[in-house]
Symmetry: C2
Subunit: 345 residues, 2 copies
């Protein structure tokens, strides 16, 4: 029998009574601390609960899994981990393997750091987008940057987990993660983040020393967040109950801001840039075709398609808007080139 038991976010205090009994009776208890650190003090408390054997499980031991599975064949084994046990994919894989070897598995779910922090900050859960992890390795920032961009376009919040490496006792500092995002901005230039981006840094969630700080990047970069672990949330469009909650429930350095309002999808950026340019190009070429009915019709068509582009954008049909402005531009440029005039863009 193999139990997957989540410790929740507040250490052994959050172990349910029933689960406590199971831990006491188990033959072998593994404590896993590579997905998230377990405090020394909590480790001692857990050790004291255990009557059977107790062992710290390193990443390789869980990934390899053979020792754990072998033990679970003839005795009751528990794999204890921080938060909810299945946030870590290694645990899901181990469970699948156990099932395939006909080992019974049971689960004690618990509070995860992700749900806990969203609630503590006061954000609405159904407005949270895809979760990202920022690593210290510089090149890996592009994916989080792009996911945050997509989330902000949709007006939703981005939960950002920060690299943790147990072997080197390394936690990525929230300030380094923010700097990394600002670096990505310099390169990608999609106007996703800047020094006024509003964000929330959640430190030591669930522990007695929990602290939540919110404010603009520029002020967060001046803040000392204390001991790890930390996570970051970049908020999207804020409902007023969310702004109120952030103001009241967190240490709020700046008034909460809507980071989504200044974010523009690539389509919107294109329409805003090209509509005036194509209109101008059209006006310039009109006089050359005053006396030709066919060509006047082509230019009238161009005018209609420019208007269509704006209308489609208002209707949220971004792709049709881009297609229309491209088409209008093609009509105009064909007639410019025919007169030996260069395209405008």
């Amino acid at each position: 029998m193999l139990w997957f038991v989540g410790l929740g976010v507040s250490g052994p205090d959050s172990i349910p009574k029933e689960v406590g009994k199971i831990i006491q009776k188990a033959d072998l208890v593994y404590l896993e601390s590579f997905t998230s650190p377990i405090y020394k003090e909590h480790e001692e408390d857990i050790k004291n609960l255990v009557n059977g054997n107790f062992k710290i499980a390193k990443r390789w031991l869980v990934e390899d899994g053979q020792e754990i599975l072998k033990a679970a064949k003839n005795s009751t084994v528990i794999l204890l981990s921080y938060g909810d046990p299945y946030i870590a994919t290694t645990h899901i894989e181990l469970r699948t393997r156990a099932k395939l070897e006909n080992i019974e598995t049971k689960t004690a779910h618990s509070a995860s750091v992700i749900t806990s922090m969203i609630g503590e900050v006061g954000l609405q859960f159904y407005k949270v987008g895809r979760i990202v992890t920022i690593m210290s390795e510089k090149k890996s920032i592009t994916t989080p940057y792009k996911i945050i961009f997509k989330n902000l376009i949709e007006g939703i919040h981005s939960v950002i987990l920060l690299e943790y490496n147990q072997d080197e006792n390394f936690f990525l500092d929230p300030k380094d993660a923010i700097l990394s995002l600002l670096d990505a901005e310099k390169e990608q230039k999609r106007n996703v983040v800047n020094e006024n981006t509003f964000a929330v840094v959640v430190s030591r969630i669930g522990l007695k020393t929990q602290k939540i700080t919110s404010g603009k990047f520029t002020n967060l970069l001046k803040t000392n967040f204390g001991e790890p672990p930390h996570s970051i949330i970049i908020t999207g469009k804020l409902h007023f109950t969310e702004s109120d909650a952030i103001s009241v429930l967190t240490e709020c350095l700046d008034k909460p801001l809507d980071n989504s309002s200044r974010i523009k999808s690539v389509s919107i950026q294109m329409i805003e840039k090209y509509v005036p340019l194509v209109r101008e190009a059209l006006e310039e070429i009109k006089p050359f075709y005053n006396d030709s009915k066919e060509f006047c019709e082509i230019l009238q068509n161009a005018e209609l398609y420019i208007n269509d582009a704006e209308d489609f954008l208002k209707q949220g049909k971004d792709e049709n808007a881009v297609l229309s402005i491209g088409y209008a531009d093609g009509l105009v440029d064909a007639l410019r080139m025919a007169k030996g005039i260069d395209p405008k863009m």
Copy 2:
């Protein structure tokens, strides 16, 4: 003092010892069951824990909040709810108001149905997109349909919660939710779902009668899922460890399928449709301009932009691809119209 206490997903068995003590000592305990139902049996167990006053809290009582806040000013009050307390936005609002009235608040986080079900199904948490709720009211299906579409384009999973109305003891049946999505497909025609869409129905998560069924819509529609509550997950791109987990950990009616592979963004659909059409329109008009250098150049330009459209799409620059094919089409059509030939599309 106002406590927000989560009951987790497995009833009173998942209450931590420390939280149990707080419940025993509290002056007044409210049990909230409008966000998710509490089983009669669990309700009795909780009642037996309480030494102070016990009261069922209806939605209006929590939303109004005055009674709870007044009581919390001079005594210890607990608001107990299913899952994690802050998944419900009403609870976050109440906490904000308590803070503003200088009432101390404390939280006992717990397992939420959302994290629990993702893990039980064996999916990777960071591959989950925005969460949606499907309601029985037919018109409201458009938003979930569009969010599922966006999630599938990104290759990520959609967690679908189903309507629960405590006053009418109404739960939306998973089969009705699936039918509603298929109806939306008929109207919206974005090819998001069809009878072969692979999905997972999670029933009574955390309870002893928990059951997880996975398969194609067509087979799920023939399945009896038993008592509510239920939720649905429509999976996106599946890592092989995820497919393995679904096959092993759930009652799997069909081999897990990648629902994302046949999903095409509007941009891709446009490029696939228009590139051959514009090429054809171009070939048709070429002979009319064989002896004119300026016009030949325009047509050569069109050819280059058609190729650009395909290249941009390969690079993931969807908007540039659409802009390019629109532009090429405009160039070609201008020259068709100039010869009195109708545009091709």
